[in-house]
Symmetry: C2
Subunit: 724 residues, 2 copies
Amino acid sequence: MEQLRFDDRVAVVTGAGGGLGKEYALLLASRGAKVVVNDLGGGRDGSGKSTFADAVVQEIKSKGGVAVADYNSVVEGEKIIKTAIDNFGRIDILINNAGILRDKSFTKMSDQDWDLIQAVHVKGAFKTTHAAWEIFRKQKYGRVIMTSSNAGLYGNFGQANYSAAKMGLVGLASTLAIEGAKYGIKVNTIVPTAASRLTEDILPPDMFQAMKPQLIAPVVAYMVHESFPENGIIIDSTLGYATKLHLVRSNGASLRKKPADIVTIESVKEAWPEVVNMNNAYHLDKITDVTVDLVQKIQDFEERSKLDSEKEAYWSTYKYDSKDLLTYALGVGASVVNPSDLKFLYESHENFEALPTYFILPGMVMESPIVGKSMPPGKHADFTNILHGEQYIEFLSDFPGTDGQFTIRNYVVDILDKGSSAVAIVNSEVFQDKTLVFRTQQHIFVLGQGGFGGPRNSSKSNNVLPAPKRAPDAVVEQRTSEDQAALYRLSGDLNPLHIDPSVATVAGHPKPILHGLASLGFSVRHVLVKYGGNNSSNVKAVKARFAKPVLPGQTLVTEMWVEGSRVHFQTKTKETGNIVISGAYVDLKSVAKNETAASSEPNQPASSSSAMKSDGLFAKIDEQVKANPSQAKSIGAVFLYNITNNGKTVKQWTLDLKSGVVHEGAPKSGKADTTMTVSDEDLIGIASGTLNPQTAYLKGKLKISGNIMFAQKLGPLLKSGSKL
Amino acid sequence: MEQLRFDDRVAVVTGAGGGLGKEYALLLASRGAKVVVNDLGGGRDGSGKSTFADAVVQEIKSKGGVAVADYNSVVEGEKIIKTAIDNFGRIDILINNAGILRDKSFTKMSDQDWDLIQAVHVKGAFKTTHAAWEIFRKQKYGRVIMTSSNAGLYGNFGQANYSAAKMGLVGLASTLAIEGAKYGIKVNTIVPTAASRLTEDILPPDMFQAMKPQLIAPVVAYMVHESFPENGIIIDSTLGYATKLHLVRSNGASLRKKPADIVTIESVKEAWPEVVNMNNAYHLDKITDVTVDLVQKIQDFEERSKLDSEKEAYWSTYKYDSKDLLTYALGVGASVVNPSDLKFLYESHENFEALPTYFILPGMVMESPIVGKSMPPGKHADFTNILHGEQYIEFLSDFPGTDGQFTIRNYVVDILDKGSSAVAIVNSEVFQDKTLVFRTQQHIFVLGQGGFGGPRNSSKSNNVLPAPKRAPDAVVEQRTSEDQAALYRLSGDLNPLHIDPSVATVAGHPKPILHGLASLGFSVRHVLVKYGGNNSSNVKAVKARFAKPVLPGQTLVTEMWVEGSRVHFQTKTKETGNIVISGAYVDLKSVAKNETAASSEPNQPASSSSAMKSDGLFAKIDEQVKANPSQAKSIGAVFLYNITNNGKTVKQWTLDLKSGVVHEGAPKSGKADTTMTVSDEDLIGIASGTLNPQTAYLKGKLKISGNIMFAQKLGPLLKSGSKL
């Protein structure tokens, strides 16, 4: 790497008579900076006078550097800045390093102990920085370092005064970073850990000995270099190690159940475990983000409260990715033996998509407490007495992508009284980015809990429909594997009934049974191939009743009847003739009478593409290609990037290295030699070096089709300059 | 919930003439506290005098409460505390709420603007708290609130003075929390967002209107209640919402390659992306933890540097859980058809364990850059020209558990010159908690990159061994599934060669081929059942060469020869007679000649069990059982908890609710009715309410064997008091 220089820069370092400050001064001077070596006194407590600064200046000069000594106190910071102007005509860098200690337990801390520490650290940094600020603004350039301490960030016994001062500087730096940004002024905080009593007690002796200022100075020097990219950050450094710190916030909690409720001390206490749960804590960058974030949460809370005004709902989230889809597809019998199934089994297939029944999973609430809570008095439901009776799913918006996250509202619509048993009807409304994407409904049998005088039917139930009386219009047979249940379990339902022979015996089965939803997945796949053009997004709704259990290894026979755009179906096991799925149907957008799988369109981006983080990268690549046209053309291939969000392509970029052109959209003529599909976020990760492209490829995050050799060639060109 | 009261408590609230402070005073008084209502002036800028405090006192009294007004300035905080003592004889609660603003852009900020804000906010809080501190210490009780602001936490334009002051209070609170802890003094920080110009600009009007102090006061009241559990935390609250904040640190980076290197500005710049990578940021609780954490990192760095002094190594981490083991077991042909395989397919099986070949995966480096970097000049390797040639694994410590995390050192041992091709020998050393648990070695063929005059052999190579000439001692056949490769891919190797017909065609195969490691998994399973007692921990080492590709659907024939404790094997495909795995062997601890699967011992805890977080929970359960013996005995069952770490049982607890006894270890007589296996961490999650037990059960995090109905009964008893 080229040496990072400070030629023609003027730096002020306070407290530079020894220790860290001296090291900063020496290092900057050795790299060409003219340095004001400020130092007041020698003692650690700030007492006495010294000529230490002169010695440092002498050392700099002896090495051919330029420096001047300054003995003003930082509380008269304007005098120190004046020394820079008077001697060198300008100032570019200010390192606020001067500091003293007055450690006392809080009980014994006097006003003087307090005031002195505040004056030197906080007021001092204010004064020097304030004096330099107008100059920085006018010249549109400045670098400021505040010096904080882990004693401030974490607190430390006997340092109440020092903790307050050191944390105060972090606050000052935050605001100055904001105010200086548009003037090219960057203000950052260093947290240097020096050899001290504290560290001496904890560190191994050789490590304590090694705690040298020389190991920290290069960090601070980089932080005041013109190439330093950050502003307003906190860096802890010692012993040749550096770490960034920032604040994160918990997801937090609403302190009341509904917006109309008042907040009480008791409701706060009740919400507290969620308030302080840092499991999904996240960082916000600026104060306006805090407000925006809050507005979002309050609005969510209000919207949910409105939705939940009639029925108490249980909200959950669900995240999935392409690997989940592959696991599910294998679990419901998709096989590479059928070429039409490959699109469900291969994440880089050009028509890769989820099976429609996969999306039943986000609404599964067998594990949630809502059914139990909704039972009539004297009746109970828990996972030992419930059975999945019926299932419905209805797609209400665009078919979901191949990865993404949902927010789900689950609630009990009705509890039916079927005599000996009860039936809980549970609705799940599944949202993505505030849009209701699909909804599911489960009928959950609660064994032995009927007879409470409730209704037998509900107007809110999506009911099964009888199959037509005629012979089926089509029949598809497929044998399940002996390991089908073991495999389907990987999609999340680990109920031992499906794997543990002794549990199955207790439940009255000859062996562990197949999941009802697995059989349903098989049958809907059969319908999809037969009448749906093998296109998942052709499915509008699916309904089914689980009539009898299936044993792994049995052959499923799906019988179908077409009525308009509805395909009625029922499923039998060939070995027994039992109907295992009854009253079922798939509603299609259009029936494809052709039995061969219709070729669906490859993933196309939305017409109006929104701004993506990767836009800037492609702009840089464009620059790079323009700067090195011959290098680019030597690759001689056309690359297409599909940028995805929630598993859908939302933007395309073409790198036409035959013509040396980079543009948004698909290639203007011909086809790309190599197509790369990657999420905006992962592409940024690759470009910034936090995600290795080979790892991304082998983990399925970066999908490459076409000529993979070209992709290899692309790397070096793009990495050389633009970091992509 | 019972009302949270403040009877006999005396509270001082500064700045209580209006706004938030007034609300705090009213709320505390309404719950029985005697309140000192301190207020200086009326104007937002601190100007003028007022009788606001009197009005608040009047309001409190009119509602039957007890309060007194105080008009001292917080900078004379001792006078305010004296008011409490003079009037009520004590002080228990101090809410530092008084504050003013002097917003100015930094350029225009005068010394007076700066000093006034520091005096009122920081010095004021110091003075009041200092005056109360000795009293708190003597009575061994105190509750202090510091008031910070998002302007301090994030910075805000025009508030340099205020940001510094507000962040300073966070630092002060941190140290006071530490100093006060042993005296029953708790010091916490509230970040209240009030209706202001800032929020007015961003918030929807109705939300701005709703930003009432009444919504924040109950939070602060809870934070000063005697039942409040936290100390030294930051809570942001507004609009009936509350959020906790804390600092997190990046993993950071060493700023040099080796301990002997010097740190330069350039080496800092090179390490910077890793320094500021917050992806795996984590929180530390106190300043000593920072040092301990650093020592750990530096020692790791030094140890790694020593290990890496000869060979440049690539360090990685690998995390796995029981679901990964199930996925892998299915991928290598374990089947519920074979009862002996169930222990690899069912996470709650009493002998659940990993297949030994699973642990080859953490060492896989096909995606890493190390082979490419180690090639001789003029030769290159990337994932388009490499093939997995041979594999070795050797277990060096206890067989790994069913979930855990490894740290792996990968390095190239040698590059062999095999004429037309090169062979890279890559070692992986796999550590868990600093112990070398096992190591693997890969021979990676680099096609067409030989002929550089290198060695043909290496002393560091673990070589294949020829099979004895005699007929095999045993043969096991198993057909692979047509979907075997599609299934094995779920274990992480997504190379399209194993799924994409067109990629397979280009590579010269009739269809996508099975992963070599999948075939190896089959054969080692065969050896394990035949000669290893079906016990993974009986395996010491495995070596194999991948001689030819296998097509999914072909039948693998594993031929075995026993020589002492070594089982030589080779694998053929039945359909072609080709040897696909050659020169292979499994070294066993002891050969079990018995073909039937030996029953291995269930997971036993280590003899000396270390302190676990859940110990405290069982102590609480013990109290609970002793307090309600009849309720406990009404359950009348014996429960055994296996507490796991890294997937191994490390401690057991018995809840004998027949005798009403809780003790460490297994039941003293008889067998448990219900056994629950759960990690220490997950058990804490369940107890603290962050992990739903039904969810834990259905996700396989909580494993229950025996009578599951009893487990259901246990819930209410334990939840009622001890929160377990």
